[in-house]
Symmetry: C2
Subunit: 416 residues, 2 copies
């Protein structure tokens, strides 16, 4: 089954908002075996919405839109699509009652007049209830089999509607065909794309009919295998075998599959080896701790972190000797090793990570240019420290440094 | 001037990659007065790329694409667009020499054969040099005035090409017309969209020809004013006046304009009042410190932070009395106030922020459900603490909590 997505909002074209809805919808649909053949983003303008939806219907007969269902004046989707389907808008009494009840419950009574328009629906449309917000989803279908599904643009509301209303209806429709689009990702970090390609190229032809894509980011390079339009069992078997084969070729740089997060991988290794972790950060400013605590259940293994931004905190809280900082600088092997030791002591743990560097934009020197970062990981008395020079701006340097710090501990914890 | 963007990559449709290039390109073009009327994302498939580029050229005569210029097999853009323009690919000797020099410099010699194809360009195309990577940009133009600009998909490389090569050429082309598309944003936090609408609605009509959009996110609600196709001075004057008017109506919830970051606003206020800041976090796990240190130059004001994830660190590092945690719980007014005091002491600073809460997914109780967060801010001995219950998943709760913590200090620092 194929369809197109139309995401609506001037802010998407002006680039102030990332089209996370389009991406999330794509993921959910791909997982359900639906192929998104095109995604179009248009501004909140009547003619632009009309053209994009009409063309998508022309090409694939099935379109899902997000955005433009709110109560304010820039919300035009419902009106335009109703026109395209030759329907008038009618007040849905049940919807109005539910909307009024919601406003009473929130203590906002009387309901603002603008919200009343949210209870109007195109004649004959199916209302998809949205318990998380005021704009319901709408499912329009005509006798020619054309379908338009309108979803609100608030990500949480869209997500709920996709899971509870859209996917079940799509499953019913797809009926006889069981063919799916599925992907698996082999995640790597600490190695350039071209070095991976040299390892993987020899087997790429043999992966067909699966496709392989290299997706580099600040976290590393993901190798994405995709099965298109296969029976689910066939897709899964081929993907599993190919992923194993690719992971083996990638070797020590491989850290997980699919949406595995390196912080979760490291936490799991720590847990299995009954370690507890503390963190000391300077240039990453809390990002390593944030990555770790983003993992649900981190509290059984992660005890705490210190952001030793000022050198005085490196000496006071982490007991880095002042002479070390004076002799070698705050960005040095000696300092990062002392920070890792200090974190072990401060948090009374057996494992630690430390990071110190020059994130920029200023502060670089000829021998320590912006991007220079010293990383250390420590397990009991076994420690490693590495110096890296990361490209990119401040944010990118910090993200790369946090990922590399986690990776250093991962490699140290790996069985030899 | 109007154009369309086509972003190319199967991963965009599968939703594994956010279309940040499309957004960034949109921002850069809007700032240059170019209106992006549509953005289309298509997979790495020959026919899909061909159709999207051809249709965009048909509609607006000008298309900028990103992606599909790499050395691997899924990179098809150059070939397809050359066909659309009726050009053959020819080897560019200067480009090949530069490419080979680059590989020698990186110590990767001989150059992998796949990269040689990156030195092939459509006949008559202008090569846009890409010092940050191996794939140059390409500018194709035909006698009918149709233009296709092909940019690589690696964000940093795309960014450099847009700034150094594309924008200057667009400025030359736009020639006589000086009309621009410009936006200004009035940023608010800690107040729902509908409450803002009640304050702003009375003047919305008077803002024409500017448009107004409400953009809610976990950080608050942005009010975006946009001037379309006006002379630059006229656009700027209208936007400045409207932004002032809207900000006044929004009142105490307004914290900054455009891409102001709340952390930067707070740092600036601290700096002006000669304060120094320390942070104590539990559920946000480093996110508040990360937000603050994301601001270049934070080190003159921000001394350090502690992620007191385990209760033992709250007592050991922050000196929260054990009896307070036992009597009131780790998520309580008493604990958060003690954490803020502890941060002042630990970092020897006069200002502090503290956060403790239940980010979920587990750990909620009937009186402290998931999303419950206590926040405190302290300036000398003056302190405020508030309890909030945030919606969303773990990540969203943490982001909202970090923003609210910064906002609490902002309000405490504001002149009465």
């Amino acid at each position: 089954m194929k369809l197109e997505i139309v995401t609506i909002g001037t802010e998407l074209l002006l680039g102030y908002t990332l089209d996370s809805n389009g991406a999330e919808l794509g993921r959910a649909l791909a997982a359900a075996g639906v192929e998104v053949v095109r995604r179009t983003s248009v501004p909140d303008r009547r003619e632009a919405i009309r053209a994009a939806v009409a063309e998508a219907l022309e090409r694939t007969g099935f379109v899902i839109s997000t955005g433009g269902l709110g109560p304010t004046r820039d919300d035009l989707t419902k009106t335009v699509v109703a026109e395209l389907f030759g329907r008038t808008l009618v007040l849905d009494d049940a919807l109005l009652a539910a909307l009024e009840a919601r406003f009473k419950r929130m203590g906002r009574w009387p309901m603002p007049p603008a919200n009343r328009s949210q209870a109007e629906v195109p004649e004959g449309a199916t209302v998809l209830p949205n318990p998380a917000g005021t704009a319901p989803g709408l499912w329009l279908e005509d006798s020619g089999g054309r379908v338009a599904v309108l979803l609100p643009g608030v990500p949480r509301e869209m997500r709920g509607l996709v899971l509870d209303e859209v996917l079940p209806r799509l499953a019913l429709r797809s009926g006889t065909s069981r063919r799916v689009v599925r992907s698996r990702t082999v995640r790597t970090t600490g190695v350039p794309e071209s070095a991976l390609a040299e390892r993987v190229d020899p087997i790429e032809d043999s992966l067909a009919p699966l496709t392989l894509a290299y997706l580099p980011s600040v976290f590393g390079v993901d190798l994405r295998l995709t099965a298109w339009d296969l029976e689910p069992e066939d897709a899964d078997a081929r993907l599993a075998a190919a992923a194993r084969q690719v992971a083996r070729l990638v070797g020590e740089h491989y850290y997980g599959d699919d949406d595995s997060d390196l912080a979760a991988v490291v936490l799991q290794a720590l847990r299995q080896q009954r370690h507890r972790l503390g963190v000391a950060e300077s240039c990453t400013g809390g990002m390593v701790a944030e990555r770790i605590t983003n993992v649900p259940g981190a509290s059984d293994t992660f005890i705490g972190g210190v952001v030793a931004y000022a050198d005085v905190i490196k000496t006071a809280a982490l007991k880095v000797p002042l002479e070390v900082i004076e002799a070698h600088g705050a960005v040095s092997e000696e300092t990062v090793r002392a920070m890792a030791e200090g974190a072990q002591r401060l948090f009374a743990v057996d494992c630690s990570i430390a990071v110190t560097g020059v994130a920029g934009p200023s502060g670089g020197t000829s021998d320590k240019p912006v991007g220079t970062v010293w990383l250390a990981a420590r397990v009991h008395t076994d420690s490693r420290a590495v110096r890296r020079v990361f490209p990119g701006d401040r944010d990118e340097i910090r993200r790369r440094a946090a990922q590399a710090a986690l990776d250093l501990l991962r490699r140290l914890l790996a069985p030899a």
